[in-house]
Subunit: 153 residues, 2 copies
Amino acid sequence: MHACHEHALCVEEALTAADRICDERELRFTDLRRRVLSLIWENHGSSKAYDIMEKLGDDFSAKPPTVYRTLDFLQDNGLVHKINSLNAYVGCSHPLKHQDCFFLICSCCNEVQECCASHIADTLRDMANKNKFSPRHMTLEIEGECQDCLKKN
Amino acid sequence: MHACHEHALCVEEALTAADRICDERELRFTDLRRRVLSLIWENHGSSKAYDIMEKLGDDFSAKPPTVYRTLDFLQDNGLVHKINSLNAYVGCSHPLKHQDCFFLICSCCNEVQECCASHIADTLRDMANKNKFSPRHMTLEIEGECQDCLKKN
DNA sequence: TGAATAATGTTATAGTATAACATAATAATT
DNA sequence: AATTATTATGTTATACTATAACATTATTCA
């Protein structure tokens, strides 16, 4: 389910935000990086590295290392997330405060919704601490069905 | 950090539990399945499919499909879990009520602690529902450092 | 015993990711 | 502006993870 009426705007916004972030951090938002981020955003669901590679086509020398390096850059700077349970990547919908988020993955329409809820992150941190564990990074991915798909079926 | 003083006992217990579960469900706990589960349990951390394959060695015709099919069987019956962020497998420490669990993964000693906390699962379900999402399966993996490793460093 | 089912063996290949080194582009220094 | 240093990208090769498709063996059940 995508709430946006015209997805091109989402893509534009994401690219603009990325521009600004890279500018602030003195990072180079190169053509390749912009293109990959754009491709990821154009997709309502998650994107696989090798699919991105194909879409890059002739414009860039699109071989695995190129794609994975670019994905690493985008991940390191909070612009995309990797969905471990899918081996796929999604654009981050709020890259400036992208911690403690989790993902709702509809296995019917394949859309991925990113959610942030600090109280959940807090609960999880508490739990970890009770288990004498010092958490650094959380992977929280919930697979299921979105409302639209439930209605349809 | 492993709490068990003699890990062989853990392995034994796990195999006995698996025996019972398979018996109850009229599943065949074959030599291969038993051996793979044992190998996984013998490892304090998580086990990679190809490592398991090597350890199976000559006793079984150890090729990828054999291993992955066996892992599938064990997963389907709640005897092992896959850790998506590691592409690795751990034994389930309470296979009869193995839902709603999460994992604390120490990236220093590589041990994986399985935790169950129904209130966390409830919180997550609530959150999903508020987002109009019907959850089916959750992946919750927390990477960090366990107390022992923190002390050491 | 023989047919049906389930498990395992086997070959091949698909899919995901990184190492190592070469070249090109950009930034900093002179 | 030319030189050097740094960062980014290109290139080749290969490692790692997983499954498809079909053959054979073992077990169950009629």
